[in-house]
Structure formats: structure tokens, C-alpha cells
Amino acid sequence: MVCGKPLRSTSEATECSFCGKTEKADYVCEEGHYICESCRLATPETLVRKVCGATKETDPMKVVLLLMKDPALQMHGPEHHYVVSCALLAVWRNLGTFEINDSALDEAIRRGRKVLLASCGLWGVCGAAAGVGIALSIATKANMLSDKERTLSMESVSESLAKIAKIGGPRCCKASTYSAIQKATEFLEREFEVELPSLTDPRPCYFRNLNEECLRDKCPYFKGNNLV
């Protein structure tokens, strides 16, 4: 479910590894991970909203890795566009970097939904990179009339996009998400002098054997190499 370990049946009250809700569980894995009934049936939007609303995590890579392991999120798909922005907003909220209220996540999902499926190939703008801009724009309350905030949002997208473009194709929403999170973290450190307590290294990619179009050795996240 979360770690890939075998499941066993149980009837104990267990906390959901996704949304944090405690309920009488039916299955847990050997590591004690459990997904509540509601998360198992959730749409990607509901899941992302619930998880990012409840998480206390300060490592955005851990948040996106958890979300992407849920079956509600396909291997590739437009839900990755708001996964990036919601994970960043949740972590910035937890760190107190910006004042992020509950409606910020809804707004990020609303904006992320408008980024077209396959926009990387069709517009030249990967939705994961746009997700970084969406998060920063919401956090800094930027709009088209803003000065510095608008510039920073655009620069964050531009730098994320450049990093994602270097990976090559066919597209991989997982690799793009990793790159966007890494670049957003670097950007925040440089521009806002905010250092995250930790940032998980996604290598080797958890999804490498599940993706039929995996770039394998060409991808910097395929194994524990030093190409990132």
C-alpha cells in the first residue's frame, strides 16, 4: 500500500498513513501502514486535499512520494500538477515560512486543474513546473499587477522547467515532480533564505519498475547515480 510490503488482516484501531484519521483497520502491512476506507475510494483531488491539509511533514519530497504511491494517482496524469503546489504549500505552512490558510490548498487545486493534460508537449510548460509557480504565487499573494512577487513566481517556473527539460522524454510525471520539488527548495533557500530541515533523495525511483515508458539509465532518478 505505502511501502509495498505484504498485507495482513487486523481489527485494531490504526492511523491512516495518508490523512491521519484513526479507525478500525481491516488490513495493515508488515510496517504498520494503513490506508483508511475513505482514502482508498478518494479521487486524486480529495486525497491531495486531505493529505496536504493534515500533514505535519516539513519535507516536501516525502509528501509527494506518499501521495504518488496512492493508486488514485495514475503513473502519469494532470493530478501531478497540483500535487507539487499542494505539497509545497503544506510544508511552507508547517515551517511557518508563509502564512498559508486552508483555502490555499483549494486554490492551488483549482489553478492546477486548469493546466492541460500533456501541457509539457503541447505548450512547452510542464504542469509540475507550473505547480511551483502556483504555490509561490499563492504564498506571496502575487497577481499580474505585482512586482517582485510576480517576477519570483515566473523565475521559479522558469528554473524548474529548465531542470525538467534536461531529463528528456517521453515525459515522466514522477521525474518532473522530483525535479520541481528539488528546484523549488533550492529557489526558496536562495531567494527567501529558508532552509528545509531535510529533503529526501528520491533515488532510486520507487516507480521505476511500474512505468512502462521509464527512461531508465537516461533518467537521473532511475538509480542512485549522481546526475541530478
Binding site: 500500500m1 481491516d26 476506507e37 482508498r40 475510494l41 479521487t43 496512492d70 488514485a72 495514475q74
Partner: protein, 349 residues
């Protein structure tokens, strides 16, 4: 019925019940349209009615269409692509499987003329075409059916096939007899095709004059549930049948199944327990991939949509979403299942 027979042999081949097969036959005048052809626009319906010409839709990946009559030799190759893999290297990489099969036909027809040539689309002599083909794939298995115009009425061909892509093609059609300036019998052409396939593919055919019991049963089911119905022939909507043409019930649930999903699975098992011979029930778990039921997955597009749109749990019968996010009553489920059995479908029209 011949399209139902082709599909039955194709299904039987992919179930490994039938060897690679070349089927040759003649049939009354009819227009065969591809799965993606337009019934309304591509065929001259007035002429068809006047000459009592039937219009039948075939399974295919293309939108091609052709006319055939008693002067046409119909062929259908049903094979695992491994049969021609070693031969495709001699041809351009795109559509090389079709190229090999058309080259086999040309090989056989060489005894009539050296001017015949093959490409991925068919057989031609100069600018004129002599065959129409409709390929259909299921993973590694190919059904490659087509027509060789031996003594076909080319005027009828031009009158009946009306618009679109076919307009350009029909003007270029010719027949073997017309090109050679003499009558060629269907038997001569049949022998030539068999020789050509045997030589080109390095195989020897075993002659069979009848379908196997499974093939016949499957053809009857498919005719009743698909090929005899307007739903397929006119609108191109087909029931999603699995295996040899059994009805299909796909249950889409969470992984691991929630309490609601478990209830749904029990309900389905209960409502279909006496229909095991007529319906295939498959439980698909979200996020577990497409190989949950073997290396050649058969899953409907409605199931793919249900996964993409998080319609879970869901029940899909013969490729149509019937219930989602709810537990239907046993009566509702049972009547939906019974109505979807191939032997029942035809009786509703």
C-alpha cells in the same frame, strides 16, 4: 455470419485453441466496412438496397472498406505475430507485418503475372489495386482479413463504395481477370494463395473444412450478440465480450477492498453463481496494473475510464458502466447481467 466466424477463429487463436490459420471463402455480394468507417457516408445505400447488398462491419484498426461478390476470393489470416517476425526484417519497419502477408499473396500470384507488387496496404499492379485489407490486433495476435478481386464486378464496386478515402481507392481498383485479359477461376486463385503463404512463411497448411466445436459456438454467440445487430453494423458499438465470446462483468474495487467493495464482490458472486458458463467475472483492483488477469489483459475502455475518473467501486457489464459508487440491489444486478448474456442480447431486438 462470415465476420462472426473470423472473430471466432481470432478469439480461438488467442486462447491457444486454434493454430495459425488461413481461411479462404466466397460469399454473396456485400460491402465490408472497417470498425472506424462511416456507415452513413461511405456506402451508397440506395444502390445497396436496389441490388440487395448487405453492409457488414468488421473488426479492424483501420477505416478501410471494400465491396465483394462471388467473383471475389476472401481471405483471413489469424496468427501470432511471431510467425512473421523473422521475415519482417526484409521490409520497412512500419507496418512490416502487413507487408509480409501481402508479399506472400504476391508470391502465390506470380504464376499469373510478374508485374504484381505488394506494399503494406495491399497488392497492386501499376497504379491499380487488387486487394482490400482490414487488420485487427489483440496484443501479439493479428487477424488480417481481405479480399482478392479475381472476377469481381468492378462497376458494382464503383457504384456501391461512395465517399471519403475510398473514393480515391475505388477508381484505382482492378481485378486479376481484367489485368490478365482472361477469366481466372476462384479455385486457381485459391491454390495460388495457399502456395504463396506456404512459400513465403515456410509453413505447410493442414486442410480443414469445418470449424471446431468451440469456434462454431463462439461464432453463433458473436453473430447473435454483435454481427446481426444494427448497434454494431450501423453505429459501430460492440459489446465487450471476453475469451471465446462470453459476456464480461468487470468489478472495479479499491486495493485492498474496502467493506463496501467486499460487499459488492460478494453480491456479484451471488448474483452470477449459476451463470459461470456464460459470463466471465473479473475483479480489478485499483492501482494493481493491467496484468492482474494474465499476460494478455482484456479490459474494457469503460474500466479504464472508471480508473481515470475514480468511479470506484464500479460494475461494468459487456463494456458498459452499469453501477458506480453504490451497491445495487441483487435484483437490479441480476437483471443487468442476464440481459447482457450473448444468447439473450439478440432477443431484445
Amino acid at each position: 455470419m462470415d465476420q462472426a466466424i473470423n472473430e471466432a477463429i481470432f478469439r480461438s487463436r488467442k486462447e491457444n485453441l486454434t493454430p495459425n490459420t488461413l481461411r479462404l471463402w466466397q460469399g454473396p455480394a456485400s460491402v465490408i466496412i472497417g470498425a472506424h468507417s462511416s456507415y452513413k457516408d461511405d456506402v451508397n445505400h440506395e444502390e445497396c438496397r436496389k441490388h440487395d447488398v448487405e453492409i457488414i462491419r468488421a473488426i479492424s484498426v483501420t477505416a478501410d472498406l471494400f465491396y465483394r461478390d462471388m467473383g471475389t476470393l476472401n481471405f483471413a489470416v489469424t496468427a501470432n505475430a511471431a510467425l512473421f517476425k523473422t521475415r519482417t526484417k526484409d521490409y520497412p519497419p512500419v507496418l512490416s507485418d502487413y507487408f509480409v502477408l501481402n508479399a506472400a499473396i504476391v508470391e502465390g500470384l506470380r504464376k499469373f503475372s510478374d508485374a504484381l507488387e505488394a506494399d503494406a496496404n495491399g497488392i497492386h499492379i501499376g497504379e491499380r489495386r487488387m486487394t482490400g485489407t482490414l487488420p485487427k490486433w489483440f496484443h501479439d495476435f493479428l487477424l488480417f482479413q481481405g479480399t482478392l478481386l479475381v472476377n469481381t464486378d468492378l462497376d458494382a464496386y464503383n457504384r456501391l463504395i461512395k465517399t471519403g478515402r475510398s473514393l480515391e481507392k475505388k477508381l484505382m481498383m482492378t481485378s486479376l481477370s481484367r489485368q490478365l485479359g482472361r477469366d481466372v477461376s476462384i479455385e486457381e486463385a485459391k491454390t495460388a494463395l495457399i502456395d504463396g503463404f506456404e512459400k513465403k512463411l515456410g509453413i505447410i497448411f493442414e486442410l480443414k473444412k469445418e470449424l471446431t466445436g468451440d469456434e462454431q459456438k463462439s461464432a453463433d454467440l458473436l453473430y447473435r450478440a454483435k454481427y446481426s445487430l444494427e448497434k454494431w453494423n450501423v453505429y459501430g458499438i460492440e459489446p465487450f465480450l471476453v475469451g471465446m465470446g462470453k459476456a464480461s462483468l468487470e468489478v472495479f474495487v479499491a486495493y485492498p477492498p474496502t467493506s463496501m467493495c467486499r460487499k459488492l464482490i460478494s453480491l456479484v458472486n451471488d448474483a452470477t453463481s449459476d451463470l459461470q458458463n456464460d459470463i466471465t467475472v473479473r475483479v480489478w483492483m485499483r492501482g494493481k496494473g493491467i496484468y492482474q488477469h494474465g499476460v494478455y489483459p482484456e479490459l474494457s475502455s469503460a474500466l479504464v475510464d472508471a480508473e481515470k475518473c475514480s468511479r470506484i467501486p464500479a460494475i461494468i457489464i459487456n463494456g458498459e458502466l452499469k453501477f458506480d459508487k453504490t451497491l445495487p440491489s441483487r435484483e437490479c444486478l441480476r437483471s443487468a447481467v442476464v440481459a447482457a448474456l450473448p444468447q439473450k442480447i439478440g432477443s431484445f431486438f
